[in-house]
């Protein structure tokens, strides 16, 4: 059967399915649970300098199986408290990537340094939360700022740094290149798309914050496009995120160029058991498609260098 282990930015993962940031990631027990359920590794909730309650409820709205809207507002216990949570996962041997966010390069570096000291194998910089003022995508949509933040963090820590790119941009490639220049070991994409739900009867936005982020199947085509473009332009590996629920979704991301993938919203629809299913179904599915390994599928939909895409 096809081998599904992957190496991402120097980290060995037993399979390419990572728990996406913000899902099951506030408590150490949950991180452990996601790994026990079958994930190849986990990304923590994005942690900032100070505790944040996040936005008031409603923070979530769901569409039929194809999507979900959220504006959690980056709730997190803060980088002083959080290490004791992440320690639970690290002590249990869970390959853990620490996600952090902040408002500028210095603050990013400070939070990152503290997160890195917990024993996480890598950091993911959330440069892309679409609905938190002054945090995330405002920083994350300016290539110069992205480069500055990544460079500051890379200087501050010894673990590999993954930059999570926003899709709410005219040019994701410019952001990816900026992260690469800044010294990122990988980029991940995508975070949620800026979106809104309105309740007809109540005549108001559903989420307390108004604007939120769209995730789930609806954004898979957008995520695939961003991953495709990043793979074409960057030398560092790409982690694919957005709407992954089945092994076929994941393999499409691999074909587009994703070395590993993160799974978020599917946990709400299918439960954490989705990771066990994905892990079990991946090898036979790769076999059926004729791929000797997950690695062989990575980027396989791209034309060979120099080859024309069309034969006509």
């Amino acid at each position: 059967m096809a081998a599904v282990g992957v190496e991402l930015a120097g980290i060995r993962l037993r399979n390419p399915f990572l728990l996406a940031s913000g899902i099951w990631g506030e408590s150490g027990e949950s991180l452990k649970g996601a790994y026990a359920a079958g994930a190849g590794g986990v990304v923590t909730k994005s942690i900032g300098e100070a505790p944040r309650d996040g936005y008031p409820n409603p923070t979530i709205d769901t569409y039929e199986q194809w999507g979900m809207l959220n504006a959690m507002g980056l709730p997190n216990p803060g980088i002083e408290e959080y290490p004791r949570e992440v320690a639970v996962a690290v002590a249990a041997g869970v390959p853990t990537i620490g996600s952090v966010f902040a408002g500028d390069a210095d603050a990013f570096a400070a939070v990152a340094r503290r997160m890195a000291s917990t024993g996480v194998l890598a950091l993911e910089l959330n440069l892309s939360c679409p609905h938190a003022k002054g945090l995330g995508s405002e920083v994350g949509s300016d290539p110069a700022e992205v480069e500055r933040v990544v460079r500051a963090v890379v200087r501050a820590v010894t673990v590999p740094v993954i930059a999570k790119i926003t899709p709410n941009t005219a040019d994701p490639v410019a952001l990816g290149l900026a992260a690469e220049r800044g010294g990122a070991a990988a980029v991940s994409a995508i975070n949620t798309l800026r979106a809104l739900a309105i309740d007809l009867n109540l005549r108001r936005p559903v989420l307390a914050h108004g604007l939120g982020g769209l995730s789930g199947a609806a954004i898979k085509p957008v995520g695939l496009a961003v991953v495709w473009q990043l793979y074409e332009a960057l030398k560092i590996p790409v982690v694919g995120i957005g709407g992954i629920r089945t092994v076929d979704d994941a393999i499409e991301y691999a074909l587009a160029g994703a070395r590993a993938v993160e799974v978020g919203t599917a946990v709400a629809f299918d439960g954490i058991g989705v990771f066990g299913r994905l892990a079990a179904e991946l090898p036979p599915r790769l076999d059926a498609l004729g791929f000797p390994s997950w690695g062989a599928a990575v980027g396989a939909a791209h034309p060979a260098p120099g080859a024309a895409v069309r034969t006509t």
């Binding site: 909730k45 923070t59 769901t62 009867n201 108001r204 439960g271």
Partner: protein
Amino acid sequence: MRTVVSVVERVVETPSTVTLRFDDPRPARPGQFVMLWVPGDDELPMSLAYVGARKGVTVKAMGGTSRRILDLPVGTRLGVRGPYGTSFDLSPRRILLVGGGSGTAVLAPAAEAALANGSTLTAALGATTKKELLFEERLRSAGATVVVATDDGTAGERGYVTGLVERLLADSPFDVVWTCGPEVMMQKVVAAAGPRSVPVVCSVERHMKCALGMCDACALGPYHVCVDGPVFPAERIASLPEFGRTKRAPSGRSVPA
């Protein structure tokens, strides 16, 4: 999954507790909860005190939003997501129900269903004072034997309901204990039932945001109360270090319960 309902009935149950009824045909089981959205205000988890097509939530005045809910007039429109979560197994024949304060709200529909199924049920209800006793009449008319304890002795025995529970367990055989109330109360119920090997089922509360088992807000040890609960066999949760001691604040920080 979200729907908008209108309050069609408003029943003042006690000075601090009001039941709001609304029509929502989605099937629900006793023990499940909904996310109740008061437009322009908060969205909160609320157990279903009535699980039929005409559903109901029984809300106790706690903080700001719950206080405002108490004053919502008939006709108010509310958003409802759910029902979510686990429910009570109705098969045990001899049931002891232990409700503390508004905890009785979630137990009442389970009691009614079990009694209708032919089970016998003794309800031990605790409250601060007589006027705050919840659903005493509702349970009695459903066929339950009801015993009462109040902190001030204005009804039934003076003191905590857990005192009654010790005696009830000693006096008669029960197949199960259902309990909902403060976690310290539920811990005492578990402690009393343990030596007699009567299984205890608890309904617990944690801060909730998504109610979809995703956001981790309601983490309790390895569980998520919104999907693995709120109704748990006590043996799964009573020995967790958090139970009765800590809960998570909206930020995810552990704080004293």
